[in-house]
């Protein structure tokens, strides 16, 4: 900018997807408003489709059948019948949105009789044009968690078992960010805009594989159990070319002057701390087995998963003052320790006690992972910040 504002600093944020990303709308699609056609799932306006169906006798029978079926509970016996009836409506003229399907999703949807039990979770999108985007609130929340995690490490853990988890979380957040009133919250200075995808991404509906790795004490590294089926289809954005894949803007608005204005911020967060905290948090949360070369942990995992994890691990090792890895959206990725578990670990260490399976030297092994059906963990993105 030719005249750099005194109290405004902005950075362009560019992100590269390191795997599938899912941020949902919070409202699943109604599977009985969808039709499977080849390798695509189409969401359509059922009301409009029935309204415009020709008033021929056959179509009237179709309309009556469908109304009757949908007004009754749809069980496994009737789900297939309803699905077949839907395909006979003039749905092609009333498509709202279409979704590509992964190979696993196509196979599972094609054969299932439990059509109505699938929960189809689309990616968040603008309702007017269906454009997918990453909400600024998602990134802001992820950065906030990273800073809280980083600063909380310096606060001795003292667990008051009388207090609820929510209360403890709130207190830790306020203590680490040093605020009581909203005006003192250092993140009140940070404005994170929505982030928009470039043309080098595509989206796909995936099923979810849960690898449940629970280690038994004394039996060595955890081994994967048989994958658990999860009746969810989630729309994930995946890279379709080299990054960066999305872009946005982040701004810090300082107070115009400290004088007689509202309460000042006791411990502000600058861009360097923001990026460093995010980098450390991702490193801590990611299977620390990699940091200690505990590669035996990878035994038994699918090849695609190992390849994705190794890539993320290599990205984590690259340290750059204005670049970091962040985990966004749903489905845990490969989170190992949460802030809470790190603090439990620390408390037990201070008291000289072992924390059962949570404490294996300095290891922090993930014990539950939700992966996309292609084996890749969700949500890891690499961010770079350029001042504008």
């Amino acid at each position: 900018m030719s005249d750099s504002p005194k109290f405004l600093q902005s950075w362009r944020v560019r992100g590269t997807l390191l795997g599938p990303l899912h941020i949902g709308t919070g409202e699943p699609l109604d599977p009985f408003r969808c039709v499977l056609d080849g390798d695509r799932l189409h969401e359509f306006d059922l009301t409009a489709a029935l309204a415009t169906a020709a008033l021929a006798a056959a179509d009237e029978v179709l309309r009556q059948c469908l109304f009757k079926r949908l007004s009754e509970p749809v069980d496994t016996n009737s789900a297939e019948e309803v699905r077949d009836l839907l395909t006979k409506t003039p749905w092609r003229s009333h498509i709202i949105r279409s979704y590509d399907l992964s190979a696993d999703a196509r196979q599972k949807l094609g054969r299932t009789r439990t059509w109505g039990t699938w929960e189809i979770q689309p990616f968040i999108h603008h309702p007017a044009d269906g454009k997918r985007y990453i909400p600024g609130s998602s990134l802001k929340g992820a950065l906030r968690t990273a800073v809280v995690s980083s600063r909380a490490a310096a606060i001795p853990p003292r667990f008051d078992r009388e207090k609820s988890l929510e209360k403890r979380a709130e207190e830790l957040e306020k203590q680490s960010l040093s605020y009581e009133l909203m005006g003192e919250d250092p993140f009140s200075e940070w404005f994170v805009g929505d982030l928009f995808f470039a043309g080098n991404v595509c989206s796909c509906l995936y099923t979810i594989n849960i690898l449940n790795l629970m280690a038994k004490e004394g039996t060595g590294p955890p081994r994967p159990n048989k994958p658990i089926e999860f009746p969810n289809l989630v729309e994930a954005i995946i890279p379709a070319g080299e990054g960066p894949h999305f872009e946005g803007r982040i701004t810090r608005r300082l107070k115009p002057h400290p004088g007689t204005g509202p309460p000042t911020i006791k411990r502000p967060v600058n861009i360097e701390e923001l990026v460093k905290s995010a980098a450390n948090h991702a490193d801590n949360a990611f299977g620390r087995a990699f940091a200690h070369d505990q590669r035996s942990y990878l035994d038994g995992l699918p090849d695609e998963t190992v390849e994705a994890l190794v890539t993320i691990d290599e990205e984590l090792k690259e340290r750059n003052p204005l670049s970091c890895i962040v985990r966004l959206g749903r489905f845990g990725g490969f989170l190992s320790k949460t802030i809470e578990k790190h603090r439990i670990l620390k408390e037990h260490t201070i008291r000289g006690r072992t924390a059962r399976r949570e404490l294996h030297g300095d290891e922090a092994k993930p014990n539950t992972r939700m992966l996309a059906d292609d084996g890749k963990p969700f949500g890891f993105v690499k961010l770079t910040f350029d001042e504008v």
């Binding site: 701004t251 002057h257 204005g261």
Partner: protein, 322 residues
Amino acid sequence: MHPLHFALTPTSPVVTPLRGDTLLGHLCWMFAYQRGEEALLRLLANLTDDPPAISDLFPEGKLPRPQMPLPHSDGDAKEYRKEIKSIRFIGFDEWVRLRMELRGEEVLGLLVKAAKARRAKRLADMLTGSRQEKPSEDLSELHSTINRLTGTTGDAGGLYARVRTHYAPGVRLHAYLHPGIFGEEAFDLLEKVGGNGYGADASTGCGTFEIERIEDGDDLFDLPGADGWMSLSRHLPPAGVDLDRSCWRIETHYGRLGGSFASSGNPFKKPLLLIDCGSVWRQRPFPTAPPGAHLPNVGFRDELIRHLGYTIPMPFKWGNSQ
């Protein structure tokens, strides 16, 4: 007075309705962010010399409906009363015709015609099952609250909803700007407001927009012999008007402080009674500066907080019977 005409294209959802006086407040904050609070206070000390004003945002090609008392409803006017009440805008061409001799009967006739067209379209859409494309829609969006300790939502899911106004792609609104004391900097400041975000949830991406000047040379502000004007935004009561023969609607405004004060202990302003957009005033001669006033000491914490209640007047001639 010939204000700048500009188009505004929303590039993200909006939570706080786009109103002229709220935009003006954002302009002041952007000035403060760039130059400091002292510089803003020095500038505002000369406010009454040439007060700034921004009109409300209107759909492209539209202006606010004049707040005229309509003749006693009868016939079509009675039948379409509900639709008439919901009509908020009229077209440029319709205003050009009305402004030469503004009368309640003319306004009513125009509104009845618009109401009939609206009802016919709605019925046609119902019969054909077609979806009406709306320029904007208020939608409730779900968000999750994350427990920072566990990295997950709580037992209850932590779900909450926020209502946001989404604009259809390509929707353009238009408005007018009288720079006043901000001078040539006003347009740049407004551009920066659009880049940083307007209103609630600007910190998470809401309220961004792009603006561009419209050089249409319209003569809507050029009407020799005008003896009245229509307000294009909310404002405080103006001086020098014929109160007995003017028409206005009052709105109670529960304003909020912006900028750094938005997250302070008490972000609310004292409630104000404001004159709504579209009010029609009788005044001669036509004002040379934005009419209205400013009200000091409207904050609960700080005496410096004020409300700038100036508006942009659009001239017209009253009909003889009014």
